[in-house]
Symmetry: C2
Subunit: 299 residues, 2 copies
């Protein structure tokens, strides 16, 4: 089955202690869309400017991503510039130029409205609502968000949480949202805000799922070298919903495996700048790491 992904489609300029990487393909929907495409057909909803490099459109297409929902508007593509410190754990935003995103309204092609799996990747919550408003009874909706929206649009985030099956946030966001330091407790409080499934990302420490079938502790694929973690969280949730859309059987059982596959794609993402590493990955590479991860936690 297909996955609809809405989120940001951007150009990222990423500075690390070792390199400068101007105008890479980035944005939550780019990372999540490519990650999902390994497992299921993807329909992209987003906007880029008329400066958007054609090679990035070609990259989407190579991953079989349906671009009927990608608007190309006159103006500049959303551009983010960020810098990582030596240990790659701290990120600083140097510049955010919204460009065509400023006036973006996600009008869905009619063929998109019945997509069964929906990923509301990180983007302004009002845009996530607009997309949901246009969907016709999707099977499974997962929403991502970020600290920025918790700070500036909390009411819209809370309204969104009542409309989705699952939410994914990182541990600090889960703490911020619930004012609860313990992530296990934080996860159970987030259920009360609406979502049946709560997924908390903990970066290199893996992630956890809380749902009606209990808890699942998902390991992160261990990496001895992180080149650029930008987009790892988006890759995680993209791989996750792609796997769910491509899998048969009970959602609850699939969800655990979906997290593992999301974790594997996220690890690939960290091994290159922007999408450079992920774009070269094959399904076979992914399966090999999923198998390895199974062995790494076996006891």
């Amino acid at each position: 089955m297909s996955v609809l992904v809405v989120g940001s489609t951007a150009l990222d300029s990423i500075i690390t202690p070792k390199r400068q990487n101007p105008r890479l393909l980035g944005g939550s929907a780019s990372h999540a869309g490519v990650a999902a495409s390994f497992f299921a057909p993807v329909r992209l909803v987003g906007v880029v400017g008329d400066d958007f490099p054609r090679r990035y459109l070609a990259l989407y297409r190579r991953h079989g991503i349906d671009l009927a929902g990608l608007q190309i508007a006159p103006g500049k593509t959303f551009h983010w510039e960020g810098q990582y410190e030596v240990n790659m754990n701290n990120r600083r935003t140097l510049k955010t130029e919204l460009g065509v995103f400023e006036s973006f309204f996600p009008a869905l092609p009619s063929a998109y409205r019945q997509t069964p799996y929906v990923l509301l990747a990180n983007i302004a919550p009002l845009l996530q609502h607009h997309v949901l408003d246009q969907m016709q009874r999707p099977k499974f909706v997962i929403a991502d968000t970020m600290d920025l929206w918790l700070n500036t649009a909390l009411a819209e985030v809370l309204r969104l949480l009542r409309r989705v099956d699952a939410v994914v946030l990182n541990d600090s966001e889960a703490r911020q949202l619930t004012r609860e330091d313990n992530v296990i407790t934080a996860a159970s409080r987030i259920h009360r805000l609406g979502p049946k499934y709560v997924l908390v990302k903990k970066g290199e420490h893996g992630s956890l799922l809380s749902g009606p079938g209990g808890m699942f502790l998902c390991p992160a694929y261990p990496l001895d070298r992180v080149v650029d973690p930008t987009g790892a969280g988006d890759s995680f949730v993209g791989g996750l919903i792609g796997y769910l859309a491509g899998a048969r059987g009970r959602l609850e059982a699939n969800l655990r495996r979906a997290m593992v596959y999301g974790s594997v794609v996220a690890a690939f993402c960290c091994e290159g700048f922007g999408l450079t590493r992920t774009a070269k990955v094959t399904r076979r590479d992914i399966e090999a790491r999923a198998m390895r991860l199974k062995d790494l936690v076996r006891f």
Copy 2:
């Protein structure tokens, strides 16, 4: 088979935002010894002063711990006073009174010298050496240490690493020892310093094993409430070596399960001040949590 545990036997006064707990039973050997006792007979090596409460001796004995190696010296028992902040992640030492530890020399009862499993729990590395010097070809030796010894007695720690089968440290200590930020890389560098097995503790994020059979990612047992994490690391390594000593079969396979059992005992430790919770635990409670942990990581 039996386990010899050498380390500190202390009185801990622990202050948290909610409570003051004066003169609890503490010290690395107390936590590790009790943790190990759930799985195998334990022989304790340490020193206490003549002020050491009899009820704590009774507690050791209730856990079947052999006290022939516990010296009772004239003077005061080692006393540590520490304070935890609200989120229980930051600990501050308020007072350290060495007492009888100042002049402690661990002379082993002759019956102890052939103990097959040896845990050099956290204590001055020179004392760890003294114990090893007296052992007759132990089957498996694991050493714990702490940042204090990396700062003040690095040469002795490095010499110790060449004499042991396994070392356990927390992630920040692994980084400090290797000057390497990535823990996977840090673990592989520590192998070059001697130990065949390297275990890195990551607190609530679990632990990892690196050894000839590859890597193992051990989950932490998830807790929604941490009362007092003092001694959790000692409980982990104590439970681990206890399980190894009590188990049959190949060490490598047992080591993974041993870490899981160590993790479970460490979680119990965190649920009460000092040893109060651990001392009430049964083997059955431990098995139940080990089973639950297996389910929590299943996919």
